[in-house]
Subunit: 451 residues, 2 copies
């Protein structure tokens, strides 16, 4: 919804809420998309949100609650008892139900799992056993699997049986008598085939499946690389365990992108833009700030070791921010490209040496140009050619070292299975600050007698 549209609708809805017109609200919301209702909810005061939510039918309410973000969702269902929550969970797809239940307090979750239908409860329990950010953790159990010797007509009957339960069906999974995944048939081919053809004759055997333990980032990478609409999940014996649908793949991509951005910016990926609690935000941001502070205390200590030089030539001081900022900038540029290359698979370990050499040559060129510029500014603008030579030399060397550090640290992190995106953030800034100041001060010492 556009901002203006939303404001208008929001005014109408708020009016109905104040007039306590629950039946009217429910009727209006039947025509709205759950994502739009969730968006409206986010933009209204807490009591209104509660009234609107309570007026929804259970099916819509279950869809809406899944679209609402963490802290708002938490606040909305805080006072609901296990019975009301169970009725919502029963309306959810197995993977959504598992996600929803896993975020509740353990006691409440256990109560809900006892109250919902035994079959659904078993499914949710089964999904909860998987790690949250693996293929098993994001897969759904709802799918259409048909034995390979069955015909197209029988597959269509199977779809008919499950059509109510499963909203999105794009493929039929073809399995053997042990439930081992043999291939897939897209609905297009099912429609076009002769009804009496056995599935094994028309199935696509080049099926890309993942194991339940596969990292969700790997799943998203595969889906992107091979343009997959959904990814089947199999167990160690190749038996079909579930499938990951389009919407969940897209969610993973978004999550990973947000995580990268968060790492770069030194914020926690759990901090939500509309997070209500100031204290929680402070707690999430503080560790990064403390790390930064401790790192910069080291940088300050470095400077104290050179206080006689700084004291003698006070103008050395003015260029400290230039040295630290430019080292940081060059390092971040180099690391961002490597992190992106690692994420898309365009760069790997075998490239380490070549990458290092390349970043060095780039840095020599850009270092020379930046050095020349600062020399001109200091020599002619500030009339201090000798300081100009010193600063230009330092800047060049700092840009070179920072670029090489920035370009290789992500590769090293990846080698030790640490998320390389972390390298673009505070860590590279701190190490480049310290290294940059050391280089600057050492060069200044060499120049000192000529200043």
């Amino acid at each position: 919804m556009e901002d203006l549209d939303r404001q208008e609708i929001l005014d109408d809805v708020n009016f109905l809420i104040e007039a306590k017109q629950a039946p009217k609200l429910r009727a209006i919301m039947l025509d709205a998309h759950p994502a739009d209702i969730a968006e409206l909810c986010t933009h209204m005061p807490g009591e209104h949100r509660r009234y609107l939510f309570d007026s929804l039918d259970t099916h819509t309410a279950a869809a809406v609650i899944l679209e609402i973000d963490g802290s708002t969702r938490h606040e909305l269902i805080r006072d609901y008892d296990a019975r009301r929550l169970s009725s919502l969970v029963e309306e959810m797809k197995s993977d959504d139900a598992a996600d929803f239940v896993s975020e509740l307090p353990p006691e409440l979750a256990a109560k809900i799992l006892k109250q919902i239908e035994p079959e659904e409860s078993a499914e949710v329990r089964q999904l909860l056993a998987h790690e949250e950010d693996t293929a098993g953790g994001i897969m759904a159990l709802e799918l259409v699997a048909v034995a390979q010797e069955r015909t197209v007509e029988e597959a269509i009957n199977e779809i008919r049986k499950k059509a109510d339960e499963i909203e999105t069906i794009n493929h039929v999974y073809v399995v053997d008598h042990d439930q081992r995944l043999l291939g897939t048939v897209h609905l297009k081919h099912l429609i076009l085939a002769n009804p009496y053809t056995p599935l094994h004759e028309i199935m696509n055997r080049d099926v890309i499946a993942v194991q339940a333990g596969t990292d969700q980032e790997e799943v998203a990478k595969l889906a992107r690389k091979y343009d997959l609409l959904s990814v089947p999940v199999v167990d160690a014996q190749g038996r079909l365990a579930g499938r990951i649908t389009y919407d969940d793949i897209v969610d993973v991509m978004q999550e990973e992108a947000a995580e990268d951005l968060a790492r770069v910016a030194g914020v926690d990926e759990d901090e939500e833009p509309r997070e209500a609690s100031i204290f929680r935000i402070c707690r999430l941001r503080l560790p990064w700030l403390i790390v930064g502070l401790l790192g910069e205390i080291v940088a300050a200590t470095v400077l104290t070791k050179f206080s006689h030089a700084l004291d003698k030539v006070i103008s050395l001081v003015f260029f400290i921010p230039i040295i630290t900022a430019m080292g940081g900038n060059a390092g971040i540029q180099a690391s961002a490209i490597v992190v992106r290359g690692l994420a898309t698979g365009e760069i790997d370990f075998s490239d380490t040496l070549r990458r290092l050499g390349k970043e060095f040559r780039i840095a020599v060129l850009n270092g020379l140009l930046c050095g020349l510029l600062i020399f001109l500014v200091i020599a002619f603008g500030w009339k201090s050619p000798s300081i100009g030579v010193l600063i230009a030399t330092s800047l060049m060397i700092v840009i070179m070292s920072a670029s090489v550090v920035g370009g290789t640290v992500p590769l090293a992190l990846k080698r030790f299975n640490v998320d390389p995106a972390i390298a673009i953030g505070p860590f590279i800034t701190i190490s480049n600050d310290i290294l940059g100041l050391l280089i600057y001060m050492w060069i200044a010492m060499l120049f000192l007698e000529y200043l």
Copy 2:
């Protein structure tokens, strides 16, 4: 492919290339996914890549060339004439063909458009008329549209007619006699319906369509919000013009995420991880470095104004990196959250004042804690309680001002239609460096007589 697998396959393929076994290569590659062949290509020397590519059949070659990145692709087809390129273009989907042709030199592109089939040429020309990053620029013309009064059986016949030409069909678009889009029918409903039912009885009328001029980022946002597999594109009269498929929507999401990360890190979104030319990379990175350098020259100038204070109390100098780095860190944290909130729609203009107040309260709390920490370090570690009070006070105020700047600048940029992601990058670092140093020096002047 895993790194190890790939190395093994790569060795085998390189062996076949050196043995000039083109027919064998072609046969092997028929079973491989184009994305895998492209990945192999990226990891082999130029002449090998050329030999492998030349050994592919035209259909596979067309799919592979679309998966290869800019500079490698450019190098690969550099020597091909219009005839060879035309045969590749004829194998492509209309939107891929348009993208491919648009990246060729204008003369060559014109030649190709003359040589390919007139119908396809007209389609490509039609698509080329749209802006690159709009819905029109990423849509394909291949789709199945059926009149509303037609039956399910007729729709299936229409799919049969187009099945060869269109790889992915998940929906049939239902139109009136003027080609105006009325609804969609998913293949699942087509399969389950009675063959003699007219489409208007089973179509989904809540269809979300976009105009050809809609920004591609907006398309991706809609697809994500409403879990859309594909998005139909209509003209001003509501007539069906094309459709944007899943793979292109995912590409846009990836592009936008990469763009955000690039903006944050001060690199150009066009820089590819495997870009061959050092000079091109330098040219892409240099503007950001120059902007940073000029900004920090201002920061240096600020410091010169306070040289008497710095000269008098040299230990003030040691804390310059702490002040600039911490202002930068706090500012980036605040802006990253707002940028993410703006991207997902969780934050909008109406939040500006509330956001400002919230960032201020967060900053007060974190500023106090960081201030306390640095006070303890300086007062007890370095035995200078008065300097400790000065630095702690400055740090607190700098963190507060930087957070408020960081939290509100993205909102201001968005208001003026500038990409808010730019705020997290060099610009906020520079402005916080300058502001932070000013605050620090002003406070130092107040304290000067007590030091």
